[in-house]
Symmetry: C2
Subunit: 384 residues, 2 copies
């Protein structure tokens, strides 16, 4: 297997893009990535997307986007894995380059969620959970996260304030990110006292709905230097599943797929969690973000909230988490999220992250999950 | 790259499966394939599916099906490429085994289309075409095929009877296939005089809507003999795109993606079209089946209808096409179709195709396309 590098990233601001189509959004992100990479001749396209079928009534997505980009007869593929569709696309593209199947591959994610009512979009998001055993009974993703948050608060003696502080930090990070959907700070009071969604989860604990697209160009590490002096290598990657049904979990407070995928990715990268200088984690809800910090091995189980309280997760802290603002404030255009995460890590490791730059970041990690942790995909990146 | 073999196939009858769920249908096909292969320990799951989101309100499909099969934390992925989602899943799984990433992989396809009205299902099928430039204007897949059929009839001086004879042959083949949705013969009169859909296309020219699931087990060819004495090797595979928009095609009577993918697959397999003993082609409409016969190189352009007239495509003809009954009569559960095709070819090459067995079949081909040939995926198989 060959080592693989990222040589280009492209993003559009996560937003309400009512004047853009799914096609134009993706094309913009892809062209940004191609230009950033010095316009290599890409051989294949991978697209992560959760539900263009339901959101936009458009399936057969990859040939459409390949054609829009002028890729001719070159092969393309869409992969779907709910909220981790983006990272799943990267994982597949990575394998193709690592195995020697392709040299230069364009991999992106896109989701256009705003062309409908919020309630319709929220229903569609619920289709990542089990329709027969969960969604059918009225159990939403917010509901699952609320039960877990309540259990976490009880078991570890934590108050809602700690979660609200996570949210405040995400907004502070996003305030420095030109690609963020919510690039502004919020007060602790606002985070705490927003409208209740499913107690103890309030509106500000939830990632928003938004339109977005992001893209990467990857190639064999040894060919990267022809295109950039700032290549970022992917030194570890793993993908694992947990039980699909939440009620079948042995431990409701652990994301087992995250634990397994990250342990394997660390081993592949020959690092420990302590070596990670910056991470983008899947904080679809504030509780999910805090569990991720624990299950990725950055702190012990039950101590994620303390890391937030002590400021360890801020960009100048010991374990900088989500300098982009995370799903919470950068935004969560579902199938694009995993690529936004990877793009942010690449910018951080290149030192190109502007006002949100984490100092001396050499090794970064992206963590993308689907449903309530039904699957997890980890990528570990290293500055050349 | 390692050579890859198919060591197990499983199918359920294509039908109205109102008492089955998406999950139970897929699980049955997968278990059939696992048992057929002697129950190897599979390492990963690939699923082809076009639109469980729209048909069944279920995304995040692969982790759900992996969990239902007891695959634990093993990686899984759903791929979507409209009507060729099944072959796309096989193509991805093949790469994983060829590259050494995995040894034993379960690859399947599933579509459950009958839990709604026919008009709703027909709309969903149209979402494989371009929503902004085609579907929006009212141009359906039947409409595109009708225009092409009319052009073909005019250019080559062909009557509707020739297409109807293709349909009659498909039903005759299906009458011997226990997995077929329509396992009965029809008369030429019935094929000709069924209700018009989009002139010159009548109902009997169209593939039906149905529920189905099929699965394969693949592994490195050198490990296959531990499990079976009847392995079938995959000796060629290619995937290509055409323009997504039909009106951008340079030649409306050629499936360019099919031409490019098959030529590359033949080269990889070191064969010519004449070496193919049996083929399953993508006959979503009778015109599509006839174009496929030409574009795969079995006959010259404009002579596909003659091959039908002369009986060359029958199971005992020179170029046996769709012994299963094809999309037309075996059925076309969209994301599963490519796997049904591959499974049929494997049974044919093993000599396990019962009453529909093509004599002395040693090399077989499957041809799966999406939309009106927006992409094509070819697999070439050879009996060990």
């Amino acid at each position: 297997m060959r080592k693989v590098a990222v040589i280009g990233v492209g993003m559009v601001k996560v937003d309400h893009h009512w004047k853009e189509s799914l096609r134009s959004l993706f094309t913009k992100a892809a062209i940004n990535a191609l230009e950033d990479a010095g316009n290599p001749d890409v051989e294949a396209l991978y697209v992560g997307n959760m539900s263009a079928g339901q959101f936009n009534k458009q399936e057969n997505l990859a040939p459409m986007l390949a054609d829009a980009l002028g890729l001719g007869s070159k092969p393309s593929l869409r992969v779907e894995e709910g909220c981790s569709s983006g990272a799943a696309a990267l994982y597949m593209a990575l394998k193709d380059v690592a195995s020697g199947m392709h040299d230069f591959v364009l991999v992106g994610g896109v989701e256009k969620m705003m062309d409908m009512t919020t309630s319709d979009a929220t229903f569609i998001i619920s289709t990542v959970t089990d329709q027969e055993y969960e969604a059918f009974t009225g159990l939403s993703l917010a509901g699952i996260n609320a039960m877990v948050m309540r259990l976490y608060m009880k078991k570890f003696g934590v108050k809602r304030e700690s979660f609200a502080k996570f949210v405040v930090q995400m907004h502070e990070n996003a305030s420095k990110n030109p690609y963020a959907q919510f690039p502004f700070k919020i007060s602790l009071d606002k985070a705490l006292n927003s409208a209740p969604v499913a107690e103890p989860i309030h509106l500000m604990d939830c990632a928003p709905i938004g339109d977005g697209a992001a893209a990467l160009i990857i190639c064999p590490a040894e060919k990267a230097k022809e295109f950039t002096s700032d290549q970022v290598d992917i030194i570890g990657a793993w993908k694992a599943n947990d039980t699909f049904l939440f009620h079948m979990r042995k431990d409701f407070l652990s994301l087992n797929a995250t634990i397994e995928a990250s342990m394997n990715a660390y081993e592949m990268a020959k690092i420990t969690p302590e070596d990670v200088d910056v991470a983008e984690v899947h904080d679809s809800f504030s509780i999910a973000g805090i569990l991720a910090i624990e299950d990725l091995g950055f702190v012990r189980k039950g101590e994620g909230w303390m890391a937030v309280e002590e400021g360890l997760i801020s960009p100048d802290g010991e374990i900088p988490i989500n300098p982009s603002g995370g799903l919470k404030a950068r935004g969560h255009p579902i199938g694009a999220t995993g690529i936004y995460q990877a793009a942010e890590i690449v910018l951080q490791l290149r030192g190109d992250a502007g006002k949100r730059q984490v100092p001396n970041a050499r090794i970064g990690l992206s963590h993308n999950t689907s449903g309530f942790g039904t699957s997890a995909i980890i990528h570990v990146f290293k500055a050349k």
